[in-house]
Amino acid sequence: MMGLLTNLRDSISRVTDRLFASEEPKRIGIYGPPNAGKTTLANRIARDWTGDAIGPESHVPHETRRARRKEDVSIERNGKSVSIDIVDTPGVTTKVDYKEFLDHDMEKDDAIRRSREATEGVAEAMHWLREDVDGVIYVLDSSTDPFTQVNTMLIGIIESRELPVLIFANKTDLEDSDVQRVADAFPDHETVPLSALEGNNMDEVYDKIAEYFG
């Protein structure tokens, strides 16, 4: 309930911002499947440009079960400043099963609750995609197969909304990382390789963010 009120309040303030500010920060949603490294990336960006983190990172899927945002992140590129709001969203998936959390030393009750919250989070993230984002950073674990139903569907939705989108092939530090496979999966979009965890290739990441969302 509080989350909804916050959402509504934010939406209202956003409308007001639109009315009075000539150039408000673009709201960039960080989307992707669970465990792609979305929060790690969001924290990397937020720490680099504001000094604060956005939320806890974890190897357990669905650590992020509510969208979190960092407003007015100013990124300096080529003497210009680009301001964006970063929205870190829960990993989008078509199935949530508490049993997958049992492997992570979790009690059944906690796993079921986490599963429920994750499902709510996906619903919220999908709702936001429709109404609340101006651009999308789509994060993929480049060591896994990018040809999934979720990826295809989400990219399709993003394309249908004609939102600017960047594909981030994350986890290039992993041995199995295959950036080309990601690029081949989404040939209509620009793919940027990076390791958000190690901070590799972040210069290009910020160049592209400024270019696409500035």
């Binding site: 078509t94 949530v96 499902t119 996906v122």
Partner: protein, 223 residues
């Protein structure tokens, strides 16, 4: 009471469109849904308590919620002439019926009720999103067709398992068309991303027992 206003407790039958413009009693715009799948019997009883009692009969094939000794207890008894207003085929079977059965069926006169009932079976968890911008159940050919033969079967063979399984299949098919979150069991969910993306209302919270509470955006239904 598949849907209930969380403010004043007003209940609505499955698929009711009344909720679209807010609760008629208190104006509330938050409703909880009680899925029928986990407890079909009690839901049928609940449905029998509402003015749309006959819907449970039409959708489950159980006319047994009506006590034969009190055929008109607490419900309107329609004169025979009005029977079959929306269901002419059923009226032809009147000869061999008990008064209770005919009374039960005589309530099933509204084609919109039949349609609503047909699309929202006890197995359905898709009902939560019936008040969305999805195509109205009346747009779907299947539900309008099926309840009628089922109502006939109710009069003749109330426990026909074939009819039951056909309805189950229909419900599954409708679930596939309508639902955005399928609750497989507590803690296990299947999500229809396109449906979630398309829906107008926010989902506030899933409950452990399979209910969920939704928030209807302001101005919803005005357009």
């Amino acid at each position: 009471m598949p849907h209930q206003c969380t403010n004043c407790g007003h209940t609505f039958p499955d698929g009711s469109k009344e909720m679209l413009s807010g609760c008629p009693d208190c104006g509330g715009n938050k409703f909880q849904f009680r899925p029928a799948g986990s407890n079909a019997d009690s839901v049928a009883d609940d449905a029998a308590d509402t003015t749309a009692s006959s819907k449970a009969d039409a959708s489950t094939g159980e006319s047994v919620t009506i006590d034969p000794e009190t055929p008109s207890a607490g419900r309107q008894t329609s004169p025979p002439e009005t029977e079959g207003v929306g269901d002419g085929e059923v009226a032809q079977n009147d000869g061999a019926e008990s008064p209770a059965q005919s009374t039960a069926r005589s309530d099933v006169v509204s084609s919109s009720e039949i349609t609503a009932a047909g699309s929202m079976g006890p197995q359905s968890t898709a009902d939560e999103q019936s008040p969305t911008d999805q195509p109205a159940p009346t747009d779907q050919p299947a539900p309008t067709d099926t309840p009628e033969p089922d109502a006939e079967a109710t009069a003749d063979t109330p426990d026909d398992p074939t009819e039951e399984s056909n309805l189950d299949e229909l419900r599954k098919e409708l679930n596939n068309q309508f639902e955005s979150i399928r609750i497989v069991s507590p803690g296990q969910y299947e999500l229809n991303l396109m449906e979630l993306y398309d829906r107008d209302e926010y989902i506030i919270s899933l409950r452990e027992d399979g209910r969920y509470v939704i928030e209807v955006p302001d101005g919803w239904g005005d357009s």
